[in-house]
Amino acid sequence: MKIGVVTFPGTLDDRDAARAVRYAGSEAIELWHDDADLKGVDAVILPGGFSYGDYLRCGAISRFSPVMEPLIAAAKGGMPLLGICNGFQVLAEAHLIPGALTRNQHLHFLCTDQKIRIENNTTAWTSSFSEGQELVIPLKNGEGSYQCDDETLKMLEGEGRIIARYVGENPNGSRNLIAGISNERGNIVGLMPHPEHAVDALTGPGTDGLGFFTSVLKTMVSGGMK
Protein backbone atom coordinates (compact mmCIF):
# COMPACT_ATOMS: atom_id res chain seq x y z
CA MET A 1 0.00 0.00 0.00
CA LYS A 2 1.43 3.42 -0.97
CA ILE A 3 0.73 6.35 1.32
CA GLY A 4 1.75 9.82 0.18
CA VAL A 5 3.12 12.34 2.66
CA VAL A 6 2.96 15.95 1.44
CA THR A 7 5.76 18.40 2.18
CA PHE A 8 4.91 22.10 1.96
CA PRO A 9 7.54 24.78 2.59
CA GLY A 10 7.56 24.93 6.41
CA THR A 11 6.24 21.41 7.02
CA LEU A 12 7.98 19.82 10.02
CA ASP A 13 6.50 16.41 10.65
CA ASP A 14 6.72 14.81 7.20
CA ARG A 15 9.61 12.51 8.18
CA ASP A 16 7.86 11.30 11.33
CA ALA A 17 4.67 10.74 9.33
CA ALA A 18 6.60 8.74 6.70
CA ARG A 19 8.24 6.71 9.45
CA ALA A 20 4.87 5.97 11.05
CA VAL A 21 3.58 4.82 7.65
CA ARG A 22 6.53 2.42 7.32
CA TYR A 23 6.15 1.15 10.90
CA ALA A 24 2.53 0.31 10.06
CA GLY A 25 3.63 -1.74 7.05
CA SER A 26 2.94 0.61 4.13
CA GLU A 27 5.27 2.34 1.71
CA ALA A 28 5.71 6.09 2.25
CA ILE A 29 5.80 8.20 -0.91
CA GLU A 30 7.11 11.77 -0.74
CA LEU A 31 4.80 14.31 -2.36
CA TRP A 32 5.95 17.89 -2.97
CA HIS A 33 3.53 20.79 -2.65
CA ASP A 34 4.45 22.06 -6.12
CA ASP A 35 3.71 18.75 -7.91
CA ALA A 36 0.27 18.42 -9.40
CA ASP A 37 0.61 14.62 -9.34
CA LEU A 38 -0.20 12.12 -6.58
CA LYS A 39 2.26 9.48 -7.92
CA GLY A 40 -0.31 6.72 -7.78
CA VAL A 41 -0.69 6.67 -3.99
CA ASP A 42 -3.62 4.94 -2.25
CA ALA A 43 -3.94 7.44 0.59
CA VAL A 44 -2.39 10.77 1.64
CA ILE A 45 -1.26 12.39 4.88
CA LEU A 46 -0.96 16.16 5.31
CA PRO A 47 1.53 16.40 8.18
CA GLY A 48 2.06 19.04 10.82
CA GLY A 49 4.29 22.10 10.83
CA PHE A 50 4.00 25.71 9.76
CA SER A 51 3.34 25.56 6.04
CA TYR A 52 4.05 28.89 4.34
CA GLY A 53 5.01 30.21 7.77
CA ASP A 54 1.34 30.14 8.83
CA TYR A 55 1.08 33.47 6.99
CA LEU A 56 -2.43 34.91 6.55
CA ARG A 57 -4.10 32.02 8.44
CA CYS A 58 -2.75 28.54 9.19
CA GLY A 59 -3.19 26.44 6.05
CA ALA A 60 -4.72 29.29 4.02
CA ILE A 61 -1.94 29.49 1.43
CA SER A 62 -1.02 25.78 1.36
CA ARG A 63 -4.63 25.05 0.50
CA PHE A 64 -3.97 26.56 -2.96
CA SER A 65 -0.74 24.60 -3.63
CA PRO A 66 -0.65 22.71 -6.95
CA VAL A 67 -0.74 19.32 -5.16
CA MET A 68 -4.04 20.23 -3.51
CA GLU A 69 -6.03 20.19 -6.75
CA PRO A 70 -5.66 16.46 -7.52
CA LEU A 71 -5.69 15.73 -3.78
CA ILE A 72 -9.05 17.43 -3.20
CA ALA A 73 -10.52 15.64 -6.22
CA ALA A 74 -9.20 12.24 -5.04
CA ALA A 75 -10.38 12.75 -1.47
CA LYS A 76 -13.85 13.78 -2.67
CA GLY A 77 -13.81 10.51 -4.63
CA GLY A 78 -13.18 8.52 -1.44
CA MET A 79 -9.39 8.31 -1.13
CA PRO A 80 -8.33 8.26 2.54
CA LEU A 81 -6.82 11.59 3.60
CA LEU A 82 -5.52 12.40 7.07
CA GLY A 83 -4.60 15.94 8.10
CA ILE A 84 -2.62 16.20 11.31
CA CYS A 85 -2.32 19.55 13.14
CA ASN A 86 -1.32 21.96 10.34
CA GLY A 87 -2.75 19.33 7.96
CA PHE A 88 -6.07 19.59 9.86
CA GLN A 89 -5.92 23.37 9.33
CA VAL A 90 -5.31 22.82 5.60
CA LEU A 91 -8.35 20.49 5.42
CA ALA A 92 -10.49 23.14 7.13
CA GLU A 93 -9.23 25.91 4.84
CA ALA A 94 -9.96 23.67 1.82
CA HIS A 95 -13.49 23.14 3.25
CA LEU A 96 -13.03 19.37 3.04
CA ILE A 97 -14.24 19.28 6.64
CA PRO A 98 -16.42 21.85 8.41
CA GLY A 99 -15.30 24.43 10.95
CA ALA A 100 -11.97 26.14 11.56
CA LEU A 101 -8.98 25.98 13.88
CA THR A 102 -8.34 29.17 15.82
CA ARG A 103 -5.85 30.49 18.35
CA ASN A 104 -5.64 28.46 21.57
CA GLN A 105 -7.97 30.00 24.11
CA HIS A 106 -5.12 30.63 26.57
CA LEU A 107 -2.96 32.06 23.73
CA HIS A 108 0.07 29.90 24.60
CA PHE A 109 1.70 27.36 22.34
CA LEU A 110 1.22 24.03 24.03
CA CYS A 111 3.30 20.87 23.86
CA THR A 112 2.18 17.96 26.01
CA ASP A 113 1.41 14.25 26.02
CA GLN A 114 -2.38 14.36 25.72
CA LYS A 115 -4.97 11.75 26.56
CA ILE A 116 -7.66 11.39 23.90
CA ARG A 117 -10.62 9.05 23.51
CA ILE A 118 -11.61 7.43 20.21
CA GLU A 119 -15.29 8.23 19.67
CA ASN A 120 -15.77 6.72 16.22
CA ASN A 121 -13.81 3.68 15.11
CA THR A 122 -15.50 3.30 11.74
CA THR A 123 -13.50 5.87 9.76
CA ALA A 124 -10.63 5.02 7.38
CA TRP A 125 -8.11 6.20 9.97
CA THR A 126 -9.59 4.84 13.23
CA SER A 127 -10.76 1.30 12.43
CA SER A 128 -7.87 -0.35 14.33
CA PHE A 129 -9.10 1.11 17.61
CA SER A 130 -12.02 0.07 19.76
CA GLU A 131 -14.76 2.62 20.45
CA GLY A 132 -14.00 4.48 23.65
CA GLN A 133 -10.33 3.45 23.59
CA GLU A 134 -8.08 5.98 25.31
CA LEU A 135 -4.70 6.91 23.85
CA VAL A 136 -1.83 9.17 24.86
CA ILE A 137 -0.22 11.01 21.98
CA PRO A 138 1.59 14.37 21.76
CA LEU A 139 -0.40 17.57 21.28
CA LYS A 140 1.59 20.62 20.13
CA ASN A 141 -0.10 23.64 18.61
CA GLY A 142 -0.70 27.36 18.81
CA GLU A 143 -3.93 27.38 16.81
CA GLY A 144 -5.70 24.19 17.76
CA SER A 145 -8.99 25.46 19.11
CA TYR A 146 -11.70 23.85 16.98
CA GLN A 147 -14.58 26.26 16.32
CA CYS A 148 -17.77 25.96 14.31
CA ASP A 149 -21.33 27.27 14.52
CA ASP A 150 -23.95 25.56 16.72
CA GLU A 151 -25.68 23.95 13.76
CA THR A 152 -22.44 22.37 12.52
CA LEU A 153 -21.60 21.16 16.02
CA LYS A 154 -25.01 19.53 16.33
CA MET A 155 -24.56 17.88 12.93
CA LEU A 156 -21.06 16.56 13.86
CA GLU A 157 -22.38 15.17 17.15
CA GLY A 158 -25.49 13.70 15.56
CA GLU A 159 -23.64 11.98 12.72
CA GLY A 160 -20.84 10.60 14.91
CA ARG A 161 -18.26 12.64 13.05
CA ILE A 162 -16.31 13.63 16.14
CA ILE A 163 -13.75 10.85 15.89
CA ALA A 164 -11.68 11.75 18.96
CA ARG A 165 -12.10 13.97 22.02
CA TYR A 166 -9.63 15.30 24.57
CA VAL A 167 -9.92 13.61 27.96
CA GLY A 168 -9.70 15.77 31.09
CA GLU A 169 -9.23 19.52 31.02
CA ASN A 170 -9.80 21.22 27.67
CA PRO A 171 -6.24 21.89 26.43
CA ASN A 172 -6.97 24.61 23.84
CA GLY A 173 -10.61 25.69 24.02
CA SER A 174 -11.93 23.40 21.28
CA ARG A 175 -15.71 23.15 21.24
CA ASN A 176 -17.00 19.94 22.88
CA LEU A 177 -13.37 18.84 23.49
CA ILE A 178 -12.98 18.04 19.79
CA ALA A 179 -9.57 16.58 18.94
CA GLY A 180 -10.52 15.22 15.53
CA ILE A 181 -13.42 15.07 13.07
CA SER A 182 -14.19 13.32 9.80
CA ASN A 183 -16.13 14.07 6.64
CA GLU A 184 -19.49 12.39 6.10
CA ARG A 185 -18.01 9.38 4.29
CA GLY A 186 -15.29 8.85 6.90
CA ASN A 187 -12.37 8.80 4.46
CA ILE A 188 -11.15 12.30 5.38
CA VAL A 189 -10.03 12.85 8.96
CA GLY A 190 -8.57 15.96 10.60
CA LEU A 191 -6.73 15.46 13.88
CA MET A 192 -5.05 18.08 16.06
CA PRO A 193 -2.77 15.83 18.19
CA HIS A 194 0.12 13.93 16.61
CA PRO A 195 -0.12 10.13 16.33
CA GLU A 196 3.02 10.06 14.15
CA HIS A 197 5.08 11.09 17.21
CA ALA A 198 3.79 8.12 19.19
CA VAL A 199 4.86 5.10 17.17
CA ASP A 200 8.11 4.22 18.94
CA ALA A 201 8.66 4.06 22.71
CA LEU A 202 12.18 5.44 22.18
CA THR A 203 11.00 8.83 20.92
CA GLY A 204 7.40 9.21 22.07
CA PRO A 205 5.09 8.60 25.01
CA GLY A 206 4.36 5.13 23.63
CA THR A 207 3.04 3.50 20.49
CA ASP A 208 -0.63 4.49 20.80
CA GLY A 209 -0.48 6.52 17.59
CA LEU A 210 0.33 3.58 15.35
CA GLY A 211 -3.32 2.55 15.10
CA PHE A 212 -4.16 5.49 12.83
CA PHE A 213 -1.66 4.21 10.27
CA THR A 214 -2.61 0.54 10.54
CA SER A 215 -6.29 1.56 10.25
CA VAL A 216 -5.87 3.00 6.77
CA LEU A 217 -4.03 -0.12 5.63
CA LYS A 218 -6.89 -2.25 6.94
CA THR A 219 -9.43 0.04 5.24
CA MET A 220 -7.68 -0.17 1.89
CA VAL A 221 -7.22 -3.95 2.06
CA SER A 222 -10.92 -4.35 2.76
CA GLY A 223 -11.85 -2.21 -0.26
CA GLY A 224 -11.84 1.39 0.98
CA MET A 225 -14.64 3.57 2.35
CA LYS A 226 -18.01 2.92 0.72
Binding site: L56, A60, F64, A92, A100, Q105, S145
Partner: protein, 81 residues
Protein backbone atom coordinates in the same frame (compact mmCIF):
# COMPACT_ATOMS: atom_id res chain seq x y z
CA UNK B 1 -2.55 54.89 -7.75
CA UNK B 2 -5.29 54.00 -5.33
CA UNK B 3 -5.52 51.75 -2.33
CA UNK B 4 -8.24 49.19 -1.83
CA UNK B 5 -8.61 48.33 1.83
CA UNK B 6 -9.94 44.96 2.94
CA UNK B 7 -10.73 44.68 6.65
CA UNK B 8 -11.16 41.16 8.00
CA UNK B 9 -12.72 40.55 11.42
CA UNK B 10 -13.63 37.39 13.30
CA UNK B 11 -17.39 36.90 13.32
CA UNK B 12 -18.97 38.23 16.53
CA UNK B 13 -19.80 34.72 17.79
CA UNK B 14 -16.21 33.47 17.38
CA UNK B 15 -14.08 33.78 20.49
CA UNK B 16 -11.16 36.19 19.99
CA UNK B 17 -8.54 35.35 22.63
CA UNK B 18 -6.08 37.89 21.17
CA UNK B 19 -8.61 40.70 21.51
CA UNK B 20 -9.37 39.55 25.06
CA UNK B 21 -5.66 39.63 25.93
CA UNK B 22 -5.41 43.19 24.60
CA UNK B 23 -8.55 44.17 26.52
CA UNK B 24 -7.07 42.87 29.76
CA UNK B 25 -3.70 44.58 29.10
CA UNK B 26 -5.25 48.05 28.67
CA UNK B 27 -6.30 48.50 32.33
CA UNK B 28 -2.80 47.48 33.41
CA UNK B 29 -1.57 50.57 31.54
CA UNK B 30 -4.16 52.75 33.22
CA UNK B 31 -6.62 52.83 30.30
CA UNK B 32 -10.13 52.19 31.54
CA UNK B 33 -12.17 53.07 28.44
CA UNK B 34 -12.56 49.62 26.87
CA UNK B 35 -15.45 47.28 27.58
CA UNK B 36 -14.30 44.92 24.80
CA UNK B 37 -11.59 44.64 22.13
CA UNK B 38 -11.73 42.61 18.92
CA UNK B 39 -8.61 42.19 16.82
CA UNK B 40 -8.67 41.87 13.02
CA UNK B 41 -6.57 42.14 9.88
CA UNK B 42 -6.29 44.96 7.37
CA UNK B 43 -5.03 44.48 3.80
CA UNK B 44 -3.95 47.49 1.73
CA UNK B 45 -4.00 46.59 -1.95
CA UNK B 46 -2.43 49.06 -4.38
CA UNK B 47 -3.81 49.31 -7.93
CA UNK B 48 -2.98 51.49 -10.95
CA UNK B 49 -5.34 54.46 -11.29
CA UNK B 50 -8.87 54.53 -9.94
CA UNK B 51 -10.22 51.05 -9.19
CA UNK B 52 -12.89 49.92 -11.63
CA UNK B 53 -16.11 48.22 -10.64
CA UNK B 54 -14.73 45.02 -12.19
CA UNK B 55 -11.56 45.24 -10.08
CA UNK B 56 -13.58 45.77 -6.92
CA UNK B 57 -15.71 42.77 -7.80
CA UNK B 58 -12.53 40.71 -8.18
CA UNK B 59 -11.23 41.94 -4.84
CA UNK B 60 -14.50 40.79 -3.26
CA UNK B 61 -13.94 37.30 -4.69
CA UNK B 62 -10.30 37.27 -3.55
CA UNK B 63 -11.35 38.42 -0.08
CA UNK B 64 -13.83 35.58 0.16
CA UNK B 65 -11.49 32.92 -1.26
CA UNK B 66 -8.15 33.86 0.28
CA UNK B 67 -8.02 36.96 2.48
CA UNK B 68 -10.75 35.73 4.81
CA UNK B 69 -12.10 32.38 5.92
CA UNK B 70 -15.88 32.80 5.63
CA UNK B 71 -16.38 30.05 8.23
CA UNK B 72 -15.06 32.30 11.00
CA UNK B 73 -14.53 35.76 9.50
CA UNK B 74 -16.39 38.66 7.87
CA UNK B 75 -14.77 41.22 5.58
CA UNK B 76 -15.42 44.67 4.12
CA UNK B 77 -13.92 46.20 0.96
CA UNK B 78 -13.49 49.96 0.44
CA UNK B 79 -11.37 52.35 -1.60
CA UNK B 80 -9.10 54.72 0.29
CA UNK B 81 -8.40 58.09 -1.32
Amino acid sequence: MATIVVDVMLKPEILDPQGKAVASALPRLGFSFATDVRQGKRFEITVEGEPTAAQLAEVEIAAEKLLSNPVIENFTVRVEK
